[in-house]
Each structure stands twice: as structure tokens, then as C-alpha cells.
Amino acid sequence: MITVEKLTKCYGGATVVDDVSLTVERNSITAIVGTSGSGKSTLLRMINRLVEPTSGRVLLDGRDTRDEPAYLLRRRIGYVIQGNGLFPHRTVAENIATVPRLLGWEARRIEARVRELLEVFSLDPVTYSDALPHQLSGGQQQRVGVARALAAEPLVLLMDEPFGALDPIIRAKAQEDLLDIQRRFGMTVVLVTHDMDEAFRLGSQVAVMSGGRLLQYDRPAVLLTRPADPFVARMTGLADRAMRLLSLVTAGEAALPGPSDGPAVAPTASLREVLSDLLWSGADSARVVEADGSVRGRLTVAAILARGRP
């Protein structure tokens, strides 16, 4: 659990982060969204003390982060930045081994961990262990960057616009991977982005920042239905907020009992996708079908539309 208490950062006369308090639950993904200059990156960097706060404090599982030297704290926290920041002179395996080496792990343990992570990120160890970063594609480099951050099994992973440099298709895949990996390793993720879609897709909690202040911190659905501030409403998109709301709910969650002769949809599909399917096919309802072929229920257009209202 990360507790941010009255955190403020001033540079000269300018207040970049202004009295921000929030609590990040363990094993969750929290997205911090804001325009550039909103102070979101500074807030993130105060968690691992790359930026020292002017006032306020950060607790990690109840312990003040200033209780130990900053470099020791950072070895316990994964950190991923935009453009991955891989060391160009070190091989993929050496890059991933950075923190375990700093922590003085045994060579055999490091090797096993590197191999495990390469496999998790679908990079063949034989092919990629000894490759240099510039020999990889952008998407592969990004995955190595995340693998490197996770190498020493940190409980917390901080990500600063981690997918900003990727093209849309690879980006979607990387977001998918992050969700899988968070479920697999169960670490607490704090992710900074300027992309509200990304925040809604990844974050179980979303923090909206503007001008250094935290405007609202809540579940995505609450941000859409009860924006605390006109800025939050603008950020979340007034025009298509109903559609965004639908994209937060899966077919499995919304399925109701009853027969349907409409198209089959997976329970993991979002209501937005199901609605689009129904519009396209002209059907009135869809069948929600599990991977094993059993029917979970149906979704009528009316039931979907009801979910799109606050």
C-alpha cells in the first residue's frame, strides 16, 4: 500500500505538486492522468524519491520512504520510463539483471530470473539474451524495459508514460500484457499517462491532476458519472462518456438470463464492443458464450443502453 500524505513540490516560486494526498491499494493498478505540466510525473517521481518533496511524505506499507537512503529504496521499486531507457552498451540479459546485481544476488539466481522474465515477455532467451537493445524492435525494447523493472520482484512498479513511444497496435498489446503481468505477479502499479483511454483501460483507480492539484481520485465509472470538477468532465470526454461507461463493463458482468438468436460474444468483450456488434448485424440481442461453448446468457440492446446511463 502506498500512502501519499500532503505531498507538495515547489521549484523556486512555482508549485508543481500542490498538497496531494491519496492511497494506492495493494495489488491494484492506479493511473494518474493529466495534461502536460499537471505535475503527474513529479508526483510519481516523489514516490521513489527521484524528486525529493518540499513538504509532505510518502509511506510504503506504513514505512516512511525517507527511512533509508534513496538508492536503496529505489532498488525495491520497479521503474519504467517512456523510451524505455535501456542501457545501450549492455545486452538484454545484463539490462534485466541490473537491480538483482545491485542487490548482490547469486549468479545462478539472476540467470534463472532473467530467463523466466524473458519467457514471460515472450522473448526467446536463446535469441535475445545476448542481443543489444538497438537490435530489438520498439515493442521488444519496451518489454525488456518492463522486465528489467520487475527483475528484483518489486512489490511496487512505477511507470512514467511507459507506452508513449509505441504505435497504436503495439501499444494495445503492451497494455494487454501489463494487465496479464499484474495479475500474474500481483504487484502494485502506479502509472502516469496523458491518455484517458489508457487510464480507463488499465486503472482500477484513476487520479486526475491539473495544475499540480489532485482533482479527483476514484474508480473510472465514478469519474464518468460523477465528475468532481468541470475539468475532470472535460478530460473524461463529455461527448462520448456514455460509450466510455459501456467500455468499462464486460459482457460477462452484464449478461442476463434468457435466450437469444443473435451473434455470439465472449464474456470478456466490453459492452461497447457488443453494442457495436449489434448495430452492425442489426440484431436485437447477443448471446454471451463462454470459451467452452456454454451460454452464460444474453444481452439486449435495451439492457446495454441502460448501462450507459449514470
Binding site: 529505489r74 521503474y79 535501456l86 542501457f87
Partner: protein, 394 residues
Amino acid sequence: MSGAALAVDGGRLTRVDPLGVVLVSAGALALAFMPFVLFKANRIVPGDPRTLAQVLPAWAGLGCAAVLVAAAVVALWVANARVRLAVALLGVIAVALAAAAAGDALTPAGDKVVRVSPGGAFWVLSVCLGLLATDATTRLKPGPALRVLFLAAALGGVSVALSHGTFDHLSVMREYAVNSVRFAHEARQHLKLAFGSLAAAVVAGLPLGVLCHRSPRLRPGILATLNVIETIPAIALFGILMAPLGALAAAVPLADRLGIRGIGAAPAVVALFLYSLLPIVANTVTGLKRVSRAAVEAAHGMGMTGWQVLTKVELILALPVILTGVRVVLVQNIGMVTVAALIGGGGLGAFVFQGIGQTAIDLVLLGAIPIVTLAFSAALVLDALVEVLDRVKA
């Protein structure tokens, strides 16, 4: 040669190599109108010019001529770089051996007074063949390892020939025979001064460069000061240093006993050190600036200490650029140490200035040839090193 080309192959004149035309014409003119060697009855009298044909035994003359004609033909019409390189090297060897043979032929057995020095034709031919070899090498684009290997082979070949006594009857080697003990001493002194001031400059320049990189406020001042030092002529800097170092020696007897005086090696080392600082500091700053900010940020973010970030990431990634500065300094120092001889600093420059004083050009060459060879070798080796490092991290 080029006239024949016109007659025989006028329709395809464009295929004649332009560099070849220049080199072959220069070589042919030199052979026709300049002496290949100069014969002197003793060290002081003016030389008596002899052409290649006059000095060589018939078989050797024919052999040398055959190699030179082959080199000329290849230089003019053969585009294959390997062939051009091979023929140029053969030519250099032939010309060197011809000079050695001329020395042997013109020196009566047991004579130690007669001097045979290479003449204009020798030098022009060597330069032409050298340029042909350089041009061919550039076209071949050999890798760094191959270049160093090539240098080692060339130096090895020359040392074998020297120790075998091949060139013993040439005047430069005559001077060497007379000065061999001093030569070894001055050569060592030369290397000590050049590498010593380089080492001092690296030890002082690296931290200064890091400081400039970290503190944009100090950077302009430091770099401007070093720039001003760089513009002071070497002789003037020696002069400027004489007063304070002399005063230091007078005031502190220990300094005097350590050899820190107004003249000698101390002002030379200090001056070379000062000249060396700018390239080292400037290249360290440039190299560090070139390091990816994301990599440095990530290094901090993963929990490296400040020292680890500097030594394991920043300096390693800046190394090729820093080494380029080292290369500049080393080549510059090897050349500038020569001037140190003027203030009693020693080094191979001692032969150069002594030779100038005695108008003994052979003595000048005894100092100058090793200096040029050293500078050339240092440049080649460090260039290769930079290329290897750059390729690893590119």
C-alpha cells in the same frame, strides 16, 4: 606513360585513374631529374647527386625498375584496390631496398666517413607510393583490427630490416650508430614526456569535464580559460612557465631536487599538460552530453548510486568521444614534445635541433622519422579503438 595511354587506348581514356596519372607523372619526373641518393665523402661536404641507374648493380636496377613500371601500370589502369595496395607496398619495399643497396655499393668496405643519404627521387617516389597505398587502403575500408594488424606487420618488417643491418650504410643509420645509446635515452624521454603529460591531463581533465557537465554555471568559464591556454604558442608558454617554476625551485629545495626547475622536463610537462586539458575536458563534456538522458534517468530510478551512474553508465557511454580527445592529445603531445628539447626537456627533438644547428640533415631525420612514426601509430591504434567501442554501443 600517360602519352602511351593516349596512343594505345585513346577510346577508353576515361578509365585511366586520375590519381594514378598525377602520381606516375611525379614519380617519373623525379626519377628523370632528381638524384636517387646523395654521395658525400664525409658528413660536412655537400652531396654529390647519383641517379638510380648509376648506383645500382645491373640485376638490382632491373628488378627495381620492373617493380616501379608494374606499379605505374597498376596505378594507371587497374581499379582493384587489393592489387593497387599490393603493388604500392612492393614499390615501397623496392625503393627502400634500392636505397640500402646504393648505400652498400657506394660505401667502401670498412669505411665510416662516407655518407650516402636518400635524394629527392627517393623521397618523391616514397611519397607517391605511400599515397597510392593510402588511397588503396581507403578504398578497401579495412576493419579496425585489420588496420592495427597491418601497422604491426609494417613496424615488424621495418624492425627486422633495421636489426638485420639492411640500412646500415645509409646516412641516417650512420648517425644512429654514432648516437645509439643517446637515441634510446631520448626516445624513452620522448615517450615519458608525451604519455606522462597525457596521463596527468586525463587524471585532471576527466573530473573537470564531469564538473563542467554537471554545472552549466562553471562550464563557460572553464572551457574559455582552457581555450585561451590553447592559443598560447608552445615556446611562449615555456617562457611563461620558466619564471614561476624557477622561483619555486629557488624557494623549495625539494622541488629542485625532484627536477622541478625553470628549464628541463618540468616546464615541458606542465605546458603539455595544459595544452592537453582542453581536448580532454571538451570531449568529456561532449561525450557526457551525448549519453541518452533516458538511460541515466533509468539508472538512477533503478537504484544505482551517483558514483555507479557515473562510472557504469555515463562514462562508459561517453568513452568513445573521450578517447577521441585522448587521441588528439597523444598525437599533439608526441609532436610537441619535440619543442621541449629547446628548453632542455630532452626527447627526440634534441636530435632535430642539434641537426639543424650543425646543418646535418641526417641527424634531423634521426629525430624526425621516429616522431612521425610514433604519432602515426598512436593515431591509428586509438582510431581503431574508438571505432571498436563505438560499434559495440552504436
